[in-house]
Structure formats: structure tokens, C-alpha cells
Amino acid sequence: MILSDELQEFRAEVRDFAQKEIAPGAEEIDQTKEFPAEKVKKLAQRGFLGIMIPREYGGLGLSSMHYLIVMEELSAVCGSTALTYAAHNSLCLNPIFNFGNKAQIEKYVPTLASGEILGAFGLTEPEAGSDAGGTKTNFSENGSNFVLNGSKCFITNGSVGGVLIVTARRTDATQPKDISSFIVESKWPGFSVGKREDKMGLRASDTALLHFEDMKIPKDNLLGQEGEGFKQFLKILDAGRIGIGAMSVGMAQAAFDLALKFAKERKQFNHPIADFQAIQWKLADMATKIEASRNLVYQAAYLKDGGRPYTKEAAMAKLFSSETGREAIYQAMQILGGYGYMSSRPLERMFRDQKLCEIGEGTSEIQRIVIARHLLGKLKT
């Protein structure tokens, strides 16, 4: 894919930043699970924690393409930092900006965009995963407040975020889609962190179980209208999926680059292994699929930035990128052989990190349902 000169320069800058500021220590925090607070601070200094927010609210005012390029480059060096960036921007900050009223935007957007506070999104629950309509977290009214009760699990930035969007239904709601969303602050009484998860990959990214017990939410903090939560989170996930696609592309590209370099240097049977067709073809297949993935991701972003429907394309981008990313990393490990399997090389970490891309923000199975609905709906009408 050919990017404009401006985007190419932007990528070069971001890559340089990622290599110098984000890559060092990525391996260590994978081991220690320590949240990359220092790296996040560096993202904030560059303005990346408000990358798509207009300048008047303290953001950089850049496009989805810029957002995705940062996502790719961060993912190439440190998946944990990349996921933190993604959840903050695409699951919390952008939705508040897009669905919030003026007062909410003025109150929350500048502090989030500056990175002073991190954002999170509480959607998934212990019993509501792919079936997000099965949300059990509930709210009722008490004077000028809503009162929130329930639990949310697997929440990225859950224990480090200061502001969260949380979905819930009225205690007496019967329709699965009758869901509303609220902007809540973690410092409010009734919020508690159940546990921080120990994960296969993206280990330094913060993933938490959250409890809300009689949490009072000012009525002003309802996001959009009551009952719009279901529609909102579908939109949030559409945008988020492109980001997860970019994450997988960034990781796959990094794995490919490693494998290519290794294949040229590594000698066996008196030849660099790149001389053997078995290796050449793996490289050819990896590069072909990465190219196709990137195009799908950028296409979805292009549609999104143009204000056009992109749900199907986002699902395709995410599904294809995450499945082919897994394949690319698998093959890269094959090329590096024993070296790839050792934790001293980033491949071993990427192998674990990338798996999330097939699960988070809608499993591959859910993406297939989304795509199929679009295909079948089209002819039915």
C-alpha cells in the first residue's frame, strides 16, 4: 500500500519513537507484568493519547490512518503498550467525544487527551461475552443520581483508568438491547478492583475485574440517550476492530522483518537458509498475506474517515489480519527454528501477544457472524 508522503513521514517518525522510547524494556515488563506507566507517559508527551481529538480539546486532530500507523508501530515493539493506547483512545476517549454532550466533552476530553487520566471501557461481564446483550450490570434512579450495580471483567486499563464508560440496563428492563452507557470515575465510592488478570500475552497491559456496588452516578453522566448503549457499543467496537487489525499487522510485520533478516544471515548446509525454496516460499506467503491484511485495515479506515458504513469491512479487516497475523508469526518462528522458540527473541512474546487479536473486541467467530449478516441482509431486502 502506498501512503501519502505525509503519512510515510509520520510513520518514519513514529517508528523512530517506538524503537527508541517504547521498545527498551518491553521484554522485561512482559516478564514482570508491570504496567508500562513510563511508556504511557511518553505517549502522552507525543500527544498520542488524544491523537484523533481536535486541537481545541487538547488533541492532535489527526485521522484514523494516523491512529492506525501509531498502533502498528507500537504493536511491532510492545503489544502491551499498544493495547493500552488502543483501549484509551478508541474505547473511551473517542466515544466520549463522539457520543457525549458539550458539558461531558469539556469535562472529560481534555484531561483524557492530555493523558493525565487514562480511559477504559466496561462492556464484558462474566456471563456476557460474545452475547453482550446479556449484560446484567444494572442501574436504577435515586433522585438526581443513577445507582449502578454489577461486575465487568477483562477490562483493559480497568485498574489504572480514571474514567470509564460502563454499560448497564435498568433493573426492570426486559429487552436484551435496552442498554445504556455511563461515564464513571474510578475515584467514586462503590468502585473496586476485583483482581488484575494474569495473561498469556500482553502481560504488562492492565486487565481487571471491576465491581460496582451502589455507585452513584450523576444523571449528567449518562452518555447519549437512555437505551442507546447497545447501538453505541456496536459503533465503538467497529472502530476498535480496525485497531486490533492494525495491531496484528504491526506484529506480523515485525515478525516478518525478523524472519527475513534471520533467513539471510543464518547458514545451514553451507548456504544462507534464504537460498532454500522452502524458506523463500514461507517469506513470500507471509508478505503476501500481510500486504492483504494491511489493505483491508486501511480500507476500513478510509471508509470510516469518509463517514461511510464500514462495519462489514472492519470485521473483515480484523478477522483476516488476526488470522493471517497468527499464521505469519507461526511461520516466522518456524524459520527461526529453536531461536524463535526461545524467550530471548521477541518472537516468543509476539506469538503469545498476537493471540489476543483473535479474541478481543469480538472473537473471530463473532466477526464471521457480523460479515454473514451483512452478506445475507443485502439480498434478503
Binding site: I2, Q280, T288, Q367, A372
Partner: protein, 380 residues
Amino acid sequence: MNFELTEDQKMVQEAAREFAQKRVAPIAKEMDEKEEVPREILKEMAELGYFGIRIPERYGGLDLDMLSYVLMLEELAKVSAGLMIVISVHNTLFCEGLVQFGSEELKQKYLPRMAKGELIGAYCLTEPGSGTDAGGMSSTAILKGGQYILNGTKSFVTNGGIADIFLVFALTKPDLKSKGISGFVVEAKSPGISLGAPEKKLGIKCSDTREISLSDTPTPKENLIGEENHGFKIALTILNHGRIGIGAQALGIAEAALEESIRYSLQRKQFGQPIANFQGIQFKLSDMAMKIEAARWLVYQAAYLQTTGEPFTKEASMAKLFASEMSNYVVNEAVQIHGGYGYMKEYAVERFFRDARITEIYEGTSEAQRIVISRELLKD
């Protein structure tokens, strides 16, 4: 590149779609069975300018960009992959080569009639003993008394029986092997040329494929394309262009197969409901559509790069490789969704299944594409 067609490109696409759907679709099955394309269809395509779609205007062509051309090929491939290859070989493997490498004299002599469809072109590279190893050919072109004398046998020549003119590659310096190959424009009526019987094929049956023998065929010196002994590079450059077209062909077949599958799965009832209600079928459709979309942008990207004058060898190979493997996957799933009906000639997916197979083989096998791609990746 924007993920958007220009208004002009959309118009080309729509016009091609209309022609393909109205004129070709109703007889596609019959063309497959009779193993021929009716002359009037070729004539109508000539009237639409499709025989000179990439030829510069000064030679009477439409001078369209590569992506517009690819869109036209894709629309044709949706209804008849066999018809598509007839026009693709003429345009890309012959005309594109002549436009890019031929002398002004040769262009003036042949292009205007080719653009009108009065002359149909073919490309002769493959031989019985040299397929993927195209540099290992044994046909010769020896300069004698001011003209080249051509000898040899070319196999699997698309349009072999309907072409008026061939682009033939042969050894001018046999001891130099691939570095001694040159390309020639050879008229079909030249002395010493004989055609084999039409090949019987698995798919793309309405296209004509034959062996061509040249026995002491005299060819004027001026009919040399490009420089002497530079023919191998020319042949490969032409194939780079051709591969984008094969990608479009694979894409078109797959799109048609998906469309049929969606239609069928909404109509076909089993267990009291349309089979489209079952996730097993839905997931097949999703994967088919997703892979088609991925292939589409690889194909369009390669065409776009060709137009902007950037290198596109690697991208053309990726497009062809990915689209052709994708297409075979998709047609297989399409037959699967149709079950027993898909195995029957009555349903178009039966033909799509046979037609898709060639896209992984001609203009460079999938294996050859992987060699091209990895070579580009590994070169410094």
C-alpha cells in the same frame, strides 16, 4: 491509492457489467459446452473498444488506465472466464507488449487494426519442454539473408486458432540460453506455420488453446520487438502485466461464485429453514467474502502501481497468487454449499469450479509466483 474508483473507472465497470450480464451471461453455459465464442460476441466487444482498451488513442485505442481495464476483465470473468482470457491475452500479452516494446513502424502497422478487433493477438512463450523454466526454450530465430528464420513448437497458446498475429519468443543466440532470446511479431498466415488441434481443457473451455509449430518461418527483421537478445526480459515484463489480469479473472470468478452461493443458501430449505440460517453456511459465506475483499485490493493495488509508473512486479505476483488460491478456495466452498446441485452442470458454480483452476497455473504457476515474490523480498 484511495480505496475508491474514479467516476471514469466506475463508468467503465458499469458498461462492462451491462455487456457481460446482458450479452454474455445468457450464453455462457452454451459457450462452455460448444467450446467456442460466437463471432458476433467478439464483434460487439470490438465495437465497445475492448480490443484496444489499453492502446494509445493515436493508434485508435481507448487508452484506458490499467485499473479500468482490470475492472472490465473482472466483469467479464464473472460471467465467462473463458471469454475473459481471450480478450486479456489479446490486450495484455500482445498489444501491451507491442505498445511498450515495439518500434513505431510496427505499432503503426498493426495496432490500429488490433484496436478494432480486425486482428486478434496471441502470445507464444511456453514450449513442450519449457514451462516454468521459460528460459530453457529451444525454438530458434536465426538471421539469414536479411530476415529471421523461425523454427520450433509453442504449446498451450491461448487464441492459437483464432489469432491473426503472434508474439513469438525464440533463441537468436542459442548458446546464450535465456540471454539469447528475442521476441518477434509473426503473422499467422506466414509460411511454415501450422496449428495443432484445439486442446481439450478442464475449464475456460470457450477459449481456444493450441500448439503452434513454426517450420522455417521467415520473419522480417523489422518484426523484432525491442532489442535482439533482450526478449526474455520483455516476455517477463509482459507477464507481470498479465498477472494482474489473471488476478482480476480469479477475483471475478470468485465474486460470481459467492453471489450464486448467497442466492442459493437463502432459497434452499433444509430442516425446515433456509440453509443460510445455519452458522455452518454463514461462516463459509463470511470467509469467502472476506478473502475476495482482500484479493480485490491486492489486484487493484497492482494495477494502480502500474498506472503510476512504480515497480509492481512483486505486487502483481502477490495479487495473482493470492487471488488465484482464494478463487479456488471460494469455488470449492460454493460447490459445497450447493451440495449435489453444485456438482451438476445446471448450476453455474460447476463451471466456476473448473474455470478457477487455471488461474493457479497459467501466466506463472503459484509456485513461480512465490519464486518471484521471494526474490523481490530477498534482493538488496
